[in-house]
């Protein structure tokens, strides 16, 4: 077969940041299948040089408004590791609550606002408002609930205010936490069950494509790892977070302003599906039941199912947040001041599971507490090589389909990864080359 195909999707929509999908096939031979990242580079590593430890999390939060909380947590952990600052159990629990809130907010936004239009054949969520009012109202309610956690516990869901090195500048009140808990129980639990039903009814539209790859996430001995853990590869096992460079091996490619990464193979996957594949047995009961309902089995190799894993995580975040609040209330809230007296100055690494996957920050501080070296490795950057590899397998499998279908499959594939391009350039656009 001598098929020629040229696809060039410029500035892909319904993703965060600017990217293009470029596919060229000549005489049935695939020459290019790439996600080009064209977002402007922001040079955060350079901006961090010389800044005080009080500012590191404030600055890195601005890497990405969608993953702001995740960057902040990772930054605080790297700073605390470098300066030898211990945090209290209360701080740890409040941070875990915030991570659940941010994961819930981001997963809901992605599944309902960015992916659902594909499943329903709509160009955006807006035309769905009159036709699917109930569903939209539910999505908004769940987003509000997630943002309430951020607004109340951290002062503001986008670029949180209160989390600082060593603790919090303000501790939420018993009344505030009880209020969140009530909403989690009265709205969150029923809404997430309905969400599972909605997604189940649309699951038939999810493309059937599999490509087994290396899955990398955090892994924690006691819990489903979001806030903390060791690095874990489905190929090679666990590694200390301080050795993250051996996992990421970032390199520059000409078609992307964001760096690519590889470990044991030509590419690896991070994000909700990687977390599910590595740690599914540590999720809450409700999430396990949701996974069963949605046909998400342990070891799922269909990248389109990343969105399904995100729904399952929503159930986890809601249930786990209720447990955390119970624990905080049982321990009694203390008006603690942040611990900001360094016990050493040196290098530190922080790693957190943010909605799109494993994130690393590394800083080195001088004796005045100012940054001399910074490096941030972003989940979307780590997924780029894996997306390219998926496209290389996918295109020949669907080449007999009409061009519009091929485009749709590619766009949906990239969206399934929930790429955060602002983040990855500290991007997306489809370019097809198919003309017979």
């Amino acid at each position: 077969m001598s098929k020629n195909l040229d696809i060039n999707i410029h500035h892909l929509t319904r993703v965060e940041g600017h990217g293009n999908i470029v596919v060229n096939m000549r005489d049935g031979k695939l020459e290019r299948a790439e996600l080009e990242i064209v977002e402007a580079m922001r040079y955060f590593e350079a901006m961090l040089k010389g800044r005080s430890f009080h500012e590191a999390a404030i600055i890195t939060s601005r890497i990405c408004g969608i993953c702001a909380l995740g960057h902040q947590m990772t930054s605080l952990k790297a700073t605390e590791d470098a300066l030898g600052l211990e945090i209290s159990k209360q701080t740890l629990l409040l941070r875990k609550l915030l991570v659940n809130g941010a994961t819930l907010q981001s997963n809901i936004l992605h599944v309902y606002f960015l992916v659902a239009p594909d499943l329903l054949g709509a160009p955006s969520v807006f035309p769905l408002i009159p036709t699917h009012k109930e569903v939209i109202l539910r999505a908004l309610r769940m987003k509000r609930l997630a943002n309430d956690i951020g607004d109340i516990v951290s002062g503001r869901a986008v670029h949180p205010i209160t989390p600082v090195p060593g603790g919090f500048t303000r501790i939420p009140t018993v009344g505030e936490l009880t209020g969140i808990k009530r909403k989690l129980i009265e709205e969150g639990l029923p809404d997430v069950k309905e969400t599972v039903e909605t997604i189940k009814s649309l699951a038939g539209v999810i493309p059937n494509f599999t490509r087994e790859t290396e899955y990398i996430s955090l892994k924690h001995k006691d819990e489903y790892a979001l806030y903390d853990g060791d690095i874990y590869s489905s190929d090679t096992g666990a590694k200390d977070v301080h050795d993250y460079m051996e996992m990421t091996n970032e390199f520059v490619v000409p078609h992307s302003t964001s760096k690519h990464a590889k470990h044991n193979r030509t590419s690896y996957m991070v994000g909700a599906l990687a977390r599910w594949n590595n740690n599914y047995d540590q999720m809450t009961e409700l999430s396990q039941a949701a996974a069963k309902e949605l046909g998400l089995t342990p070891k799922t190799y269909n990248p389109y199912f990343n969105s399904v894993a995100q729904v399952v995580e929503c159930a986890h975040c809601i249930e786990d947040s209720i447990k955390i609040i119970d624990q905080l209330l049982a321990d009694g809230l203390k008006d603690e001041k942040p611990n900001q007296t360094p016990t050493k100055y040196g290098r530190g690494v922080g790693s957190t599971e943010v909605p799109r996957g494993i994130l690393y920050h590394e800083y080195e501080y001088d004796r005045r507490g100012n940054i001399v070296y910074a490096n941030c490795v972003i989940p979307t950057g780590q997924n780029l090589a894996n997306i390219d590899d998926d496209m290389k397998k996918l295109v020949p499998e669907i080449i007999e389909k009409p061009k519009e279908d091929i485009i749709k499959h590619l766009e949906m594939l990239v969206r399934a990864y929930d790429p955060c391009i602002s983040c990855s350039v500290h991007m997306l656009n489809v370019e097809f080359i198919n003309e017979d």
Partner: protein, 254 residues
């Protein structure tokens, strides 16, 4: 807002170099979102929809200009927009992006890309108004959502929105917060333009100056207060420049 029988204004959202926090923050107006959508017609919003349009009554712009292609794109948008509004510190004043302008551009490139530094063209980060006319600015990093709603309502009613110009410090005192200086922190509230209801000090954190400085800021007095509270002059200047490098890096004492 009575819009019956009126044609809804065509509104578009665009993002330049930014974290997209301001863009997505709008989707965080969950309680008002459906109401807003009854009064405006969103014709372009790449992050949420596939649609594109030719002309806009109001274009909301987020992010800074930082590459040659940004310059081209903003000209094109301005040409097709009746009114153009900058959202958030990146767009109104260069914001955090402009911090890169403090370092020599060669060094900045090398830090991130090493030997591959010339693969991607970059410019110093600039606010939108450095390139095209901006009709109104909504400050903050992220932009203040209550302010966004207020401005949108004024515009829909055909009124000129009012720009806040008193200091964060004034708003903070009105709220009877404990001053963060008394907690051992240093704060830019005295010279920062308010309108955020002093949200950071209200949550026990210092103000980083994200909304830009008031019209006639006494920067020398501010530097003096900061150094009296235990940070070096160099450090004090850096604090002021965090969100204000584009407008103020040249005017601080050497």
């Amino acid at each position: 807002m009575t819009t019956e029988a009126k044609i809804k204004p065509k509104v578009a959202f665009f993002d330049f170099t930014s974290c997209e926090g301001c863009q997505l923050n709008k989707l965080n107006l969950e309680n008002d979102l459906l109401d807003i959508l009854e009064h405006i017609d969103i014709v372009e919003f790449r992050e949420a929809m596939d649609d594109k349009a030719e002309e806009y009554d109001i274009a909301f712009i987020e992010g800074s200009i930082s590459t040659p292609s940004c310059v081209e794109r903003i000209h094109d948008i301005r040409r097709r927009s009746k009114m153009l509004i900058a959202l958030g510190a990146c767009a109104t004043q260069g914001g955090i992006n402009a911090m890169k302008n403090l370092h020599p551009i060669e060094e900045v490139r090398e830090t991130v890309y090493g030997d591959d530094k010339y693969l991607f063209p970059t410019l110093p980060a600039m606010p939108i108004s450095a390139i095209v006319k901006v009709d109104y600015k909504i400050d903050g990093c992220p932009m203040s959502m209550p302010e966004f709603l207020k401005v949108l309502k004024s515009l829909l009613a055909g009124q000129e929105p009012i720009k806040p110009d008193s200091a964060v410090c004034v708003e903070c005192k009105l709220k009877e917060n404990e001053c963060v200086f008394d907690k051992g922190m240093v704060c830019l509230g005295p010279i920062t333009r308010g309108g955020c209801d002093a949200i950071c000090p209200s949550f026990g954190q210092f103000c980083t100056g994200c909304r830009g400085l008031i019209s006639n800021p006494n920067k020398n007095a501010m530097l003096e207060i900061l150094t009296e509270h235990g940070i070096s002059l160099d450090e004090a200047k850096k604090r002021i420049l965090l969100f204000n490098s584009y407008d103020h890096s040249q005017s601080l004492p050497k």
